[in-house]
Amino acid sequence: MLLHLQRRLLAVLPIALGVSMICFLLVYLAPGDPLQTLLPPDADAETVAKLKQLYGLDRPLPLQYLAWLWQVMGGDLGQSIATGRPVLSEIRRSLGNTVLLAAVAVLIAFPLAMLLGTIAGYRSGGWMDRGVTGTAILGVSLPNYWLGIVLVILFSVELGWLPASGMGPDGSGTFNPLHWEQLRHIILPVVTLSMIPVGIIARTARASISEVMAQDFVTTLRANGLPERRVLRHAVKNALPSVLAVMGLQFGALMGGSILVETVFAWPGTGFLLSKAILTRDIPVLQGTILVLAMIFVATNLAVDLFQSSLDPRIKRG
């Protein structure tokens, strides 16, 4: 196990390097450059050249990349070209907001999805199964930006029950989820964000449970007179590793923030930060954010792997 952990941790380095390099190249392959946001639309070529020199963007690409890499190794992700603020503090602030959103979504979506999937898998072929499967497909199929807007129109504009955007009257700085006036702001984004994971996890859980329920050992358990409640517990335990793998991926995706959901609800998370950075070609913010998110994804998958191994001794790694 320890060797496996060491290997996986070592593999993070090339992944980080690859991610940063691909991101760097992609940003440069796209037309336009980050200085466009600093310049008036009609700035002349001489001004552009001068500013490139002032920002060090006139150096060859490999040199720029190496300089950035050297900075990152020293724990500095540089400064945003668009705002001038340190990238690390921008990411820290927005990541906190996204993690809050993702954590609440996970707390609601995962148990709910597991419950629905288990019921559907246990009652495979019945009306409950059809109902849950239909709901899950709906959850996966609804575009979340559309759902977000519909929820806003219904609950904010028409009914006036919940706020439409932001994190409350004072922003994220003083956000307290224990305070109802602020907690109200998270409800619609969480519901919107949870729909896809609920759908995906419920479908996976349903498939795994129904597959396990068809296995011989379940028949044996029943033949031995085990109550149905305990039979189901065995089935859930056997189905759990594959569901966990999907949960891990969904957790990673939620942590990455949703550009669409965060934009619709003006939620100042990593998705919102990324969308701004993409539009303004803010390379330091883009590179820093993608690197941090990629690392979170890798760490999440690693944790899920280890958890799976501990749950199911048949899964041997390393």
């Binding site: 336009g32 310049l39 700035a43 904010s156 439409a164 994220s172 619709v264």
Partner: protein, 531 residues
Amino acid sequence: MMKLPLARIGLAFGFAAGLLAAPATTRAETVLRVAMTAGDIPLTAGIPDQGFEGWRFVGYNLYDSLVLWDLSRADRIADIKPGLASGWKVDPANNRRWIFELRKDVTFHDGCTFTAQDVVWNFERFTKESAPQFNARQFAFARGYLTNFESVEAIDSHSVAFTTKTVDSLFPYNLSFLMMVSRCRSEEVKNDADAFARNPSGTGPYRFSRMVPGERLELVRNEAYWDKARIPKHDRLVLIPMPEATTRAASLMSGQVDWIEAPSPDTMPRLRSAGMQVITNAYPHNWAYQLNFVDGPFADLRVRRAANHALNRADMKEMLGGVALEGYATLPPSTAYYGKPIRYEYDPAKARALLREAGCLPCKITFAISTSGSGQMQPLPMNELVKAQLEEVGFQVNLEVMDWNALLEMSRNGRERHRGINGINISRATQDPFNGMFRHVISSQWAPRGSNWGHFRNDEIDSLVSEALATFDSEKQLPILTRIHEKMSEQAVMLWVAHDLNPRALSPRVKGFVQAQSWFQDLTPVTVAPR
């Protein structure tokens, strides 16, 4: 015996008086909450970013420039007025030297007095790389307005002299974009622009209160503002970045904000039915195509005129839900020097005849357009409609769609590097004669040196522009500017389509706002009724 009741009565009166007085001292703070289209809070360290929206909400509220815009009227295109400078004149002995008299009663928010030395210090912040206060971002924002700036000197404590590289009667317009920040505060934070941005100090009608980066900026009334008529009539101004139009509309209707910028045309009927005030007005905006005058069919005046006659601008206006003016020339008609340009009415037969006469039928053209961008309105459906209308009279239009940044880069490079492109669709601000007209048509502005993308050249226009720049009497200058605009129309230097109407929606609680015909707006007269 009598003492006690009297004391009690006195106490009771005192208490009642206290209660009555209480509302005056604990009056609820009036707050104006604005949802901007920007994705982030505009920079607070002087000249803002985020385009003219940054100037509108942060620049002209936290700061002043030597020259300001008169935003008090809604019936004509706004023009400049004295700001931190109470007046200016050109030196009678040297027409490249401008003398600006500064106001004597101005203090920065930090209490320091505004003097001529502050002006020099600020210009060094924009231009002098060796100065400790030099800032590359401020250089970038200021550069476009300083192309003709040579030097500045303090004559005495409250007057400065600017020297321009060439004779330039329009030089004061450029100064309206250059914000004066406090030298005291900057030196207090060792000229660190980011530290300054976190606690800025200017001379504007609002003072900085607090900021949550990326989420909200709060400004409060500057009671000591030098222009007493413009001391804000509300206590606090909250600026919230909200780039998604639907979110802005929903936030207004659910009462989370009081004011939204640029509601999309499809949300306007719903906003109106919810009791919101939807306000529009003309402003100096031009949605048009700059043409390639060297390569391809638009080198021929007849083809340029044919394209202008092919457009049914009423259809375009209808498609935009009425939130546009039909665009027949570079400037909106309420501009003082609009004159009497040719009105290129929709006339498909005339357009076809002109194409036939020019020997260009079918006439193949390619336009470079963007998917979005500042001031671009709804570029995709608008371009599709233009294409359909042009094709009806004999053009064959190819739309080369690209990202906004790529289109800006193409515009900077000029036609030489894009010979296959016959026009670029970039909307322009036309707030002053140089930016609105000259730079697109004079030969000294040929791209990549300037903004004359398609290398238009007309000796008469060149000489009229030189004359306008050397005419310092505005009454004598007006007919020259008018002639330039009319001449641009005769030459069909663009394919004109529309002028935006600058829509915004306000809660019914918001009163007193006058929407100026400008990219900038004065928020100070606005009052907000309690909820």
